[in-house]
Point group: C2
Chain length 320, copies 2
């Protein structure tokens, strides 16, 4: 039912002017709202929306406490330079309260999704006058949800849930015919800086998807610190995506001659074109050893580091 | 209190004749018993004991259900060729019953140790007339217990527990001044085949030490199948030790287009001289990929494989 536009056949200029026109026509003289995560998809949608609606699009960035180091400040700064004002909403307490005691990955994802939509964003939308919600859904999201691999919080429509009924607004999804590589081309054409639009993909539940087991402020801080190291050391590899995962399993370690039953971090670094299939990047052992040493030295409690060597399929990009 | 004999200064012939004489003098015209695991230490002790006592040493191999594929048959066969009869005791039910519901690594180790000594071996010793127990304790076992890193089941004496009081026998530890490399030299001089005495070290709790979380017959079977693959593919690497670890954490996978919340295997392969410090072997990526593919294809339920990249310290050789 959705016809794919491949990155190869994509004409960015006509795509952009077509989508800007569609958004203008759909919203009319109403107002729209969108949540910006800082990923390529939502950033591109933000730019399309602002080109179409200007200040009649309200863009919010929800600080859920699950973000990478300095992420909110960085994203807001990028858009400030492009003349787009982004409003930051601090909702950390609500998210951690919803995640307390939750260990099942599906329930965790559900807790983040529900807190995001029903509690935080739902409340903001209801309190605003906006009737239109812009979303960065791409074709891969639709595929994966249909296949039952992941619950995507942004595909209510495809799942047969009427978003107007659920949250009282209408969804506009201008990127739904594209895959990640197509979105990157559009983002670039819309003036997004290389730094921003080439950011590595980041999952909806953010760092909560990088923690196996219960998500607490302390465990998020552990994986956040590790993520800084992994992203710094792997940014020049040309890999499609790379990440640190905090395991729930504890392993034996030794510090100052004493037993230390500590944390294990798993590093994944993927080579891929479009995330549908992926293989582990053949990193030099010097890089793997540097990663391991830096993580063990700088992140309190970590005694062991692994590198994932499985392919997708049957593995997936994210661990949970 | 124990003076180390390094592998370099070790004169195997005079060491062996000295120990054979000591064992003869200690046991007198009594009988001795020992438990053979198939590792270098217990194999070497078995040969020393048989040289000293002949048929007055009774050697038992306790099948705890936690062994590697075909291990009991293989070990018994090796010794049969050397003219040594080894008696196999099937105690699988007792071990799995003791491990049921146990997830804490210390409690797991304790369950295996207690079942081995108190229940199974203790019973055999009490039912036999043997007053002397030969044990393959080496100097590294003593070091590590003193440092509190691992509970070693074979160092009661060093821990101040009188074994005569505990189990009603006296312990003879002929290898206690040696480290692993010294034991290998002695084993070789005693005629142990390269296949046997060069076997990679294996922990006391056997495959139970390779399972994070609860040990069940099914989970042991998973790690046993994986161990066959890992040992086959890594045996020619010249590495000090290599192993497969089944994690308790589950990760997302995808099979036949459907979500499959599956198992993760961690592979460790160590370069080391004496196990006191160790670094991950720089395996070629072709080998890592072959490992991962074979494990995922041949071992039911596994969707993800990692390779450990941490050094000891702060990591340890075994995960639990």
């Amino acid at each position: 039912m959705i016809t794919e536009i491949t990155a190869q056949e994509l004409n960015t200029e006509s795509f952009i002017s077509g989508k800007v026109m569609e958004i203008k026509e759909t919203v009319g003289d109403g107002t729209a709202i969108n949540a910006l995560s800082g990923g390529v998809d939502s950033s591109t949608v933000t730019m399309l929306g602002h080109r179409a609606l200007g200040s009649r699009l309200r863009t919010v960035f929800i600080q859920n406490g699950l973000m990478r180091e300095g992420e909110a400040e960085q994203v807001v700064g990028f858009f400030r330079e492009l003349g787009v004002t982004v409003e930051v909403i601090d909702a950390r307490k609500e998210f951690f309260a919803a995640l307390k005691g939750v260990t099942d990955p599906e329930e965790k994802r559900e807790a983040v999704t529900q807190t995001f939509y029903k509690n935080v964003f739902g409340r903001i939308v209801k309190q605003s006058n906006a009737k239109y919600l812009l979303q960065g859904t791409i074709l891969t999201d639709v595929d994966e949800t249909v296949a039952g691999i992941k619950r995507q919080h942004n595909v209510f429509e495809q799942l047969g849930i009427d978003p107007q009924q659920v949250f009282g607004y209408r969804i506009i999804e201008p990127l739904i015919e594209l895959r990640k590589d197509g979105v990157r081309k559009v983002g670039k054409a819309l003036g997004l800086s290389a730094e921003l639009f080439e950011r590595i993909p980041f999952p909806g539940p953010a760092l909560a998807a990088r923690v196996i087991g219960e998500v607490t402020p302390e465990r998020i801080e552990t994986v956040r610190k590790t993520t800084v190291i992994v992203e710094k050391l792997l940014k020049d590899t040309g890999a499609f995506q790379y990440m640190a995962i905090l395991h729930e399993d504890r392993v034996t370690g030794m510090r100052d001659g004493k037993r230390d039953f500590g944390l294990q971090i798993e590093v994944r670094c993927w080579d891929s074109i479009d995330a549908r299939t992926a293989t582990p990047t053949r990193l030099p052992f010097e890089t793997l050893e540097k990663l391991s040493h830096k993580i063990i030295n700088d992140v309190p409690g970590v005694v062991s580091v692994t590198y994932n060597i499985a392919t997708k399929p049957p593995s997936t990009i994210e661990a949970i």
